[in-house]
Symmetry: C2
Subunit: 103 residues, 2 copies
């Protein structure tokens, strides 16, 4: 599924990661976080894929919505587990979407 986002401008959080081999509980957490994010104020959609690198792009109405999601209690715990257990590396990029087009 591609995200059905509105006319720009809006915001994207580009989360890219490399995982450790051991990944107990990771899939369940990832699924739970997608469901939680979808219920957050200002959530516009999400796209996710993993091969060697994992890429999750979530779309948000504005920076305030992104701050709200980052501070969400259960998500904070997932962030902690991500840093301590699941990810060997990750980058979070917050970007303002200026143009969108496609097929």
């Amino acid at each position: 599924m591609l995200a059905e986002t509105p006319q720009p401008p809006y915001y994207a959080v580009i989360f890219t990661s490399l995982r450790h081999e051991h990944d107990e509980g990771y899939a369940a957490m990832a699924e739970r976080m997608l469901a939680l994010a979808a219920g957050q104020p200002g959530f516009l959609g999400v796209e996710s894929a993993r091969e060697d690198v994992g890429i999750t792009v979530s779309y948000w109405s504005d920076p305030e919505a992104i701050r709200g999601w980052k501070a969400q209690v259960e998500h904070r715990e997932a962030q902690r587990l991500g840093r301590e257990v699941w990810y060997s590396r990750y980058r979070v990029r917050v970007a303002r979407v200026e143009r969108e087009y496609g097929l």
Copy 2:
């Protein structure tokens, strides 16, 4: 590999797509486009993964660099093949990266 990008601001092109079943020549084209992009002025890095959805995020110094890549002759031919043969749907989102952090 995660992209090693400089301090923001810089630009991201978030390309997400759904493919048709038949994909003759797709892998070779995708690999060629990554190599070509890496040689373009203003290219900063790329991250790519595909499961149900394909996500390729390329990073660029500025909008002019993105225009240059979009207009590159061999890339234009790949874009045409993408529209006509490989992709059932795609979205291109051009975004200005404002913040970056990570592990």
